[in-house]
Each structure stands twice: as C-alpha cells, then as structure tokens.
Symmetry: C2
DNA sequence: CATATAATGTTAGCATTGTCAACATTATAT
DNA sequence: ATATAATGTTGACAATGCTAACATTATATG
C-alpha cells in the first residue's frame, strides 16, 4: 500500500502523520517536552515542513487536541449509551473509565482538560469542543434517566452534571499531578467518592 | 529606609526581590510567560544575576512555590482554627475562600496545585509541601470535629478529606481553566456542590 | 501531451531564552 | 589594610519557533 522508498520528496500524508506522532509524543512525554525539530526528525522531514500544514506549533497542538477529543468520544460514548446496563452501572463504569483514562494518559488528559489554548480552541477552530460538550450532554442525559428512576433528585441536571464532573475531574487531577500521596488508598478514595456522589445526588 | 541611589552595584536584597517579583509576575501572567531576562530587567539587574541566588530558573520557581504555600497558609489557617464558629460554618467558609483564591489567582493556583516540578519539590527542597499537608491535616481535623458532632459519618477521615478536596479542586480547576461555560451558574453549582458534599458525607 | 500553477518540502538564518565562563565590584573578616 | 567571599556584569552558546527564499513534485488546463 504505502511506498517505502528511501524518503521521497513528498511524504504523502504528512499532515495526518504529524498529528498522530505529535499526539503520541505528547501522550508519552508531555506537552512541554515536544519540539517541532524532534517531531519532524522522527518523521524524516525537515524541521519547517510543519508549516505547509499548520500555521504554527500552536495550531498543530490544537489539531492534536481535536484528535484527542475524538478518541475520548470513541471511548466513552458506548459506555454512556449501553442501554443494556442500568443507570447506576453506567454511572459507575463511566467514572471508572474516566479515571482510568486520566491515569493511563496523564499528559493527554492535562492537554484536553487543562488550561492551555483555551481561548484559541474556540477562536481558531470553531468546533467549540463538540466532544467535550458531548460528554457533558451525555452525562446530563444519564442524570435525567437517573431522575426518572428516582435515584437522583429532580433538580437542575446541568448543575448536577457540573458537580459530578468536578468531583471526578478533581480526583483525576490530584492523582495524576501527584497531590494525593496515599496512593495505595486510591481505590478506597474512588469508591468513597462514588458512594458519596450517589448519596449526595439523591 | 531603602536607599534609592541610581542602582548601586549590589542590590541589597535581590533574592527576596526576585522571589517577590517572580510570584507577582506568575500570578499576573502565568508561569509560561515569565522570563529571567524580563524578571531581572524589572529589578534593574543584569540577566544572570539570578544565578548568584538560585541554581536555575526551576529552583527559583520552587522558591516561588514555597512562598505561595506560605501565603495560602496565612490565608486559610485562621478560617480552619476559628473555634468561635460552628464546624458547618467553617466548612462553608473554607470552601468559599478556597474557590475565591483559585478564581482570583488562577495562575498561582495552577502553580501550587498543578503538575509542574512535582518531583523536584520533594527532591530539592525537603520541606515536603508542609503547607499543603497542613491544609489536608486541617481539613481532616475539621472532619473529625464534624464526626464528633454527628454531621459526618465516622469513616476514614483521610479518605473523606481527599474526597472533599477533590470535589472543590475539581470545581476550581474546571472554572479557572474555562471548562464550565455556564459561568453565570457558578454560584448555583458551588452551592449544590456544598450541599451534596454535606449530604454525602453524612 | 505539455506546461503553468499550486502544493509540498528544504536550507539559511534570525530572535528569544536559559545557561555558563570569565571578569568586575563590593562586602566581610582576619 | 587587605585577602577572601559575596554579589553583579558582559559575552557567548545551544536550543527552539519561525520566516524568507528556493527546490521539487503534483495537478490542472490548453
């Protein structure tokens, strides 16, 4: 399929390759560690080839962010929408999947849910963080279902969703940023959190 | 008091001035925005004067972090220890003060509770994040008091503290990092969070 | 098919920034 | 009083993002 000639002048699919490799590098080494020179060298092109596809390093990163959200979407949507499982089950599974993702991909998690390029995400790309919004809406949907079942109080689901998300995001952040020193208790903390959330939402 | 001569060769108190100004700059413009050249220029010294007091930029930042924790301590300790107020009141006031600090000093908040230099904080300085630990211990103490009063279940207070901290940290982070778009609802979200926490802890 | 034009890639070089080495000036101690 | 330590300065280097000018390949249009 792919011609493996000794580096042809035109890469063929450099844009996608840049996004893919950049995402991998960020995932592995963190946002601050990646360098355009390093990135391009791994792809066998010259350092400025990036600029034929992205206006700047920042714009490239914005592409990576978009790609990251898409991957998250692929991961989470099935869990949310698995109607074969009870609301409580989906809630539990979802929380665990979210935490697992953060722990397994801390650098990527920070990129997606951190502060960097916040303004630019909405200015340059106008996809308005669709996926992230999707995630919130999915959570709101789940909470509405839970309200139907009577296991969650009938209050503003947006406020509830924000509260739930904040709880889990806080736990994920403290964990991957090394602020919870009693790491062996993670499981206990997570279970307590879940229980407290369910109890508090009732 | 201070001699305002036309820049004497020796600054007199450069180390403290560096820490103070660096903290102000980080608070205002964020960690990534500060530059040793910029910093030293504002203090009227040459760019490399820093290295007579700090081994590197990173070590300087570690000093700023320490200073930041001290300031936080000064701000929070009185609230925790104000025995004239009920446990519930202190809990409420504390949460609000914490959130206020994050919103008013987002860059500083990210520096103190973010990921950067995590390892180095414990390797180089050996103060072991005393203040942060102090904060957690103070919260644990408050929870123990609350357990005495019967408004919080008698379970592992460390786990409870981590859960509470995660909730509020998550809310603060999502807020200052721009992930909660319905910014007008912040107050509602915060109040709901507090209520949910108290209910869930019971 | 031929060739003009767009797309894509390369090399050279600049500005910024952290850092080091060598040197200069001031404070402190003996 | 002067040797030594403390503190500050200048010059330079390497890494990095980026621009300009040029080179090569693909695509389209006659």
């Amino acid at each position: 399929m792919k011609e493996k000639k000794t580096s042809p002048y035109h890469h063929g699919n450099l844009k996608e390759a840049l996004l893919k490799t950049a995402l991998e590098m960020i995932d592995r080494e963190g946002l601050d560690a990646i360098t355009l020179r390093d990135l391009t060298q791994r792809l066998g092109t010259s350092r400025t080839a990036v600029y034929r596809h992205f206006a700047s390093k920042e714009v490239l990163i914005l592409g990576v962010i978009e790609k990251g959200y898409e991957q998250l979407d692929l991961l989470f949507t099935p869990i949310f929408q698995d109607r074969t499982r009870s609301v409580a089950e989906r809630f539990e599974t979802m929380g665990r999947a979210y935490l697992d993702f953060a722990v397994e991909h801390p650098n990527l998690y920070r990129l997606l849910f951190g502060e960097k390029f916040r303004r630019e995400r909405e200015e340059i790309c106008d996809y308005k963080n669709e996926t992230q919004a999707n995630g919130l809406y999915a959570l709101i949907g789940l909470l509405l279902e839970a309200q139907e079942e009577g296991i969650v109080a009938r209050e503003n689901p947006m406020v509830q969703a924000a509260t739930v998300w904040a709880s889990i995001h806080g736990l994920a952040s403290l964990l991957i940023d090394g602020h919870l020193l009693m790491s062996d208790n993670i499981e206990a903390i997570y279970e307590y959190s879940q229980g407290m959330l369910l109890k508090g939402l009732r």
